[in-house]
């Protein structure tokens, strides 16, 4: 542990620097334009946002499934070998799949290291890029989104906005402490620009679209 003395030095140093930076910024007046407002007429919207969203989920490497009834997801999941063989599943959407790991009982996120699947509910989807908004408050441990080998997100087909402007409007009040757009499975192209799905997060992403 650091003694109180050096903690005080740290605070003093950063206060001095704050003053110096602010002085430099404030002593030099710079003219700038007003903050622009977005002109909604300029923005593209889609006649069928849901259809476009499904196309974009595929384009970003995810697998969209349009369901008539939430229960239909069970058969789709069972047909995926890595799901039927999975031993540790955390599900926050029991009507889609029953899990066997209760994340709300876990204190240390490290305990989720061996999680095979995570199934969560998304709040709404974005047509232009295939992203789904998840409010961190719905997650007992946020790491469950990233640490599981496979991820499924459930989102209602009636909750699709066209673009990111509508999306942030929809989020409204900023999420505290965490909120995230997820578009497709984790990926990298850092080795010779070859796209590989499954970098550090989920290896594949199933998107279940309920009515």
């Amino acid at each position: 542990m650091l003694s109180n003395g050096s903690e005080e030095t740290l605070v003093a140093a950063t206060t001095t620097s704050r003053r110096a930076i602010m002085d430099r910024l404030e002593s030099r007046l710079v003219d700038g334009p007003e903050l622009p407002e977005i002109d909604l007429k300029e923005l593209t919207t889609f006649d069928d946002p849901l259809e476009h969203f499904c196309q974009m989920v595929q384009a970003v490497g995810g697998q969209p499934h349009r369901l008539d009834r939430p229960e239909d997801a069970t058969a789709i999941l069972e047909a995926i070998p890595v799901f039927s063989e999975a031993t540790r599943v955390a599900s926050l959407v029991p009507e889609i799949a029953k899990g066997n790991v209760d994340v709300s009982m876990i204190d240390d996120p490290h305990a989720l290291a061996t999680l095979d699947w995570t199934i969560v509910q998304g709040d709404f989807a974005v047509a232009e890029n295939g992203a789904i908004w998840i409010d961190g408050d719905s997650l007992p441990q946020r790491v469950m989104l990233f640490i599981a080998q496979y991820l499924a997100i459930v989102v209602s087909g009636s909750q699709v906005v066209s673009n990111m402007h509508e999306a942030y409007e929809r989020v409204g009040k900023p999420p505290h402490p965490f909120g995230i757009f997820v578009a497709g499975p984790s990926k990298t192209a850092d080795i010779e620009q070859s796209l590989v799905l499954g970098a550090h997060g989920c290896r594949a992403l199933q998107v279940f679209i309920t009515p």
């Binding site: 232009e128 990111m164 900023p174 995230i180 578009a183 990298t188």
Partner: protein, 460 residues
């Protein structure tokens, strides 16, 4: 810190003489540039978004002090701790002190060009802390003891066979393996262990929002999120120019960033952090100046602070694509790097504004409309004013100036040139003093000048 003088042509030499590699590098980046074009064209309002983004940034830079104060107030109210660093050393000191306070031995770090700029890794390692870069490209260059050659694609200069060798040596993958899928899987396994052992997570910041006191981190791999959702302490390091005023402004920038960078409609993960995870966790935000407030004072180069670090200007630059990122000897290479580096130290980086053909492609693709090629030209003027031009260039500029001032001299020199070139032996033009003929042949000298032709055909 005194820096050695970077001579871009010399620094690029090794890369360029390897024709095969230079061409391969060129193609890899052009592929990314083409993906960017495709994505940009799917958004009819693309040009509108660029103008709005540019206006937002111009406005923010003009009112930076006010927005920083607003950000500090709101972030603090959410429970985050704000630190201010005037320069790189202070930034490193602040991070080190937070780590020492927690008795940290191992940290995981996602991609942050700011921490590269500050040399954080060296500082921490010198203090006995194990630093793991978790972005795959950054991990590759870290294991090879190199630096990133591109701000978005750190290992773009390395071939998969070379990655295979590095991983064979450090991660024990099969000898001779070069399949990107296999290598990525090996890195995934290796880094999982590091994530679980990380005691503090460090990330960069893509956008910080004054209105809410939160910030956004964008990744494709999920490494930033994995790195900060396991440990209790998250340190986010950002340059003060990363600020945007309103939460809704994120719409404009998230639409532009990934499309410009890699030709994706959005990054896989766009994470919004507002305050620490829970009451037992800590969130530290380090605001770093390191020359930015001074750059704001320069009318000519101020717009360079708009940069959102997408790398589009590098992917399109004919010089960058052929000479490789390391030839710039700077954290940020390419056109934007050639503008930023001399603002830090004009003498050391005086050759960078010349690593440019003034083709203007960088300005065309820049999502926040930085007039890059105009700034590069402006830098050349500035360097002349500072007396930093090399002797050879100074001499030839003096000569050209004389030539263009006296028409008689110009006519005579033209005549001498046309006759001389016809009879001059090859060694007179192709020798080591004339760099222009290293890979070029001289044109056939014309029989007459335009002036002579005009006299004959129009005036008579």
């Amino acid at each position: 810190m005194k820096l050695p003088i970077v001579d871009h042509p010399t620094a690029a030499h090794e890369f360029i003489v390897n024709d095969e590699r230079s061409e391969w590098h060129d193609k890899a980046l052009w592929f990314v540039r083409s993906k960017r074009d495709k994505q940009a064209h799917t958004v009819p309002e693309w040009e509108y978004l660029r103008s709005v983004a540019s206006q937002i940034k111009t406005h923010t830079v003009a009112n930076l002090g006010q927005y920083l104060a607003e950000f500090e107030k709101n972030a603090t109210a959410l429970g985050a701790t704000i630190h201010w660093a005037a320069d790189a050393d202070e930034h490193n000191d602040i991070v080190l002190k937070i780590l020492k306070k927690h008795g940290t031995r191992r940290i995981v770090k996602s991609k942050s060009m700011l921490t590269e700029e500050c040399g954080l890794n060296h500082c921490l390692e010198a203090n006995g802390i194990d630093v793991v870069d978790t972005d795959l490209g950054e991990r590759i260059v870290q294991l090879r003891e190199e630096t990133p050659s591109h701000i978005v694609l750190p290992a773009i200069h390395i071939k998969k066979e070379e990655v295979g060798e590095t991983f064979h040596e450090h991660l024990g993958t099969e000898e001779g393996a070069s399949d990107p899928k296999y290598l990525t899987e090996a890195a995934r396994g290796h880094l999982r262990g590091k994530f679980l052992a990380g005691e503090v997570g460090i990330t960069g910041v893509n956008f910080a929002i004054a209105e809410t006191g939160g910030f956004v981190v964008c990744t494709n791999e999920g490494n930033a999120d994995l790195g900060v959702s396991l440990p209790r302490v998250h340190i986010a390091c950002m340059g003060i120019e990363k600020l945007i005023p309103r939460f809704g402004d994120l719409a404009v920038f998230t639409r532009l960033l990934a499309r410009s960078a890699t030709g994706q409609p959005i990054t896989t993960y766009t994470s919004h952090f507002h305050g620490p995870r829970d009451p037992e966790s800590e969130l530290h935000i380090v605001l770093v100046d390191n020359g930015r407030s001074r750059l704001r004072g320069s009318k000519e180069f101020r717009d360079a602070l708009h940069c959102i670090r997408c790398g589009a200007c590098m992917n399109t630059c004919p010089v960058y694509r052929r000479s490789g990122g390391h030839s710039y000897h700077a954290t940020v290479p390419g056109p934007i790097g050639s503008v930023l580096s001399p603002t830090r130290d004009p003498k050391s980086y005086k050759s960078l504004p010349y690593a440019c053909s003034l083709c203007g492609s960088c300005s065309d693709v820049c999502p926040v409309k930085i007039p890059l090629h105009h700034q590069l030209l402006a830098w050349r003027k500035e360097l002349v004013g500072k007396g930093l031009l090399s002797f050879g260039k100074r001499l030839s500029m003096r000569g050209a100036s004389l030539l263009f001032r006296y028409p008689m001299l110009f006519t005579t020199a033209g005549k001498i040139g046309r006759t001389g070139l016809k009879w001059a032996p090859r060694w007179m033009t192709h020798n080591r003093l004339n760099k222009w003929t290293i890979a070029r042949e001289l044109p056939e000298p014309p029989a007459e000048s335009f002036r002579e032709w005009y006299k004959k055909n129009r005036k008579g």
